[in-house]
Symmetry: C2
Subunit: 228 residues, 2 copies
């Protein structure tokens, strides 16, 4: 059980809370522990977000897909991690992505109403979720305001930033070139130039013409701040 406590204390929304407070909460609030096998679907796009969900062991893949264009972006999250708590509240509480188990993995889920009780129980929980949601909300405006010259490379970096987070791993884009170009507002030659630049700088790899793997997200986002 000590092991489980340690894991919980490292979850993004639980960080900074005391062991004692966590114990109190686990005694009062139902924590559901679920097990999934490699390839299992954990969340289907369109599912209602009724629980806050955490990856407490293993890895999951989060997949977004454009409704009208041939464009998918996915990334992996390894434990300890929270799965997009920004759909628990707000106008639309259905998940816009699907989540699959990359390997055997454990998910902890807490019902929305119980999570609200947790938020009231300690300032640390409250500040953690407010920080998480605010950071996401600030993100888009600040990257548009700080853009250097709105090159195709920068616009691609913004797109990746919108759908991933600091701890995202193995970020992969699957696309029809024409559709990704439309999404970026890029003509084919400028798009190809951007790709070459990113490959040369070891930021991405392109195993084929419609698959892009982000090898270095941090370096890619540094482009947005004019750091490289």
């Amino acid at each position: 059980m000590a092991n489980i406590y340690d894991k919980l204390l490292h979850l993004p929304l639980f960080q900074g809370v005391t062991h004692e407070r966590l114990e109190e909460i686990i005694e009062k609030i139902p924590f559901h522990f679920l097990k999934f096998r490699r390839g299992d679907r954990i969340i289907s796009r369109g599912d209602d977000c009724t629980h806050v969900r955490f990856v407490i062991s293993g890895r999951v893949r989060v997949e977004y897909e454009s409704r009208a264009l041939k464009f998918k972006i996915s990334h992996e999250l390894a434990s300890p991690e929270v799965i997009s708590p920004d759909y628990l509240f707000g106008l639309d509480t259905s998940y816009p992505f699907s989540v699959y188990a990359c390997e055997e993995c454990g998910i902890l889920q807490v019902a929305k109403q119980d999570y609200i009780t947790i938020l009231h129980s300690d300032n640390v929980f409250l500040i953690n979720i407010l920080n998480y949601l605010s950071r996401n909300s600030q993100n888009q405006k600040s990257q548009l305001l700080n853009i250097e010259n709105a090159s195709v490379v920068e616009r691609l970096a913004m797109l990746v930033n919108t759908f991933t987070s600091q701890r995202s791993q193995n970020i992969t884009l699957l696309f029809k070139q024409k559709d990704l170009c439309r999404l970026l507002g890029a003509r084919r030659p400028a798009f190809m130039g951007a790709i070459d630049y990113l490959i040369d700088n070891k930021i991405i790899e392109m195993p084929d013409n419609s698959t892009m793997q982000i090898k270095d997200r941090k370096l890619m986002l540094a482009l947005l701040k004019g750091e490289i």
Copy 2:
């Protein structure tokens, strides 16, 4: 004083709370009421967001400016309204915009620490801010996923949506055409075509070549959902 209570109960983050609870809070928590005159600067870009701030009378103008490109977007907020509470928490707590009084206006401000006390005092306050922040966080991903064909018109609508909210009025863009085209990833002919379409549909007006006024934000955003 009845008048003030009524105003407070209509503020976005206070909606749904009982008159009694609001009274209790006002007795315990310092509410600061400030007066500004037409043209006064209320917030300067870069100011630290130490308080949650509300417009309780009059109107203010919120101005964002690109760091490197010639591009500004501004909109007006009329009372009762909250001024971007998404900078109170998160990674960067400095305002990325300036705010000016459009006319004589009253601002209510509550210190961050006091606002946290308010959040703990009643579920309604907590749910209101979680909804507000989550909506902003969801916004960008969902508009990118739901885009129809990523036309210049759609990309312009996304840009406007990013910087404004449902109750924004008199939205104005000031720009160098070359820079706005870069930001949208649009060539000049496609940009001009988009402008003509939007003017013909009474969605925007262009008093001159570098000024765009959004006349109908709702209609503009309907473009993103393929509704028109």
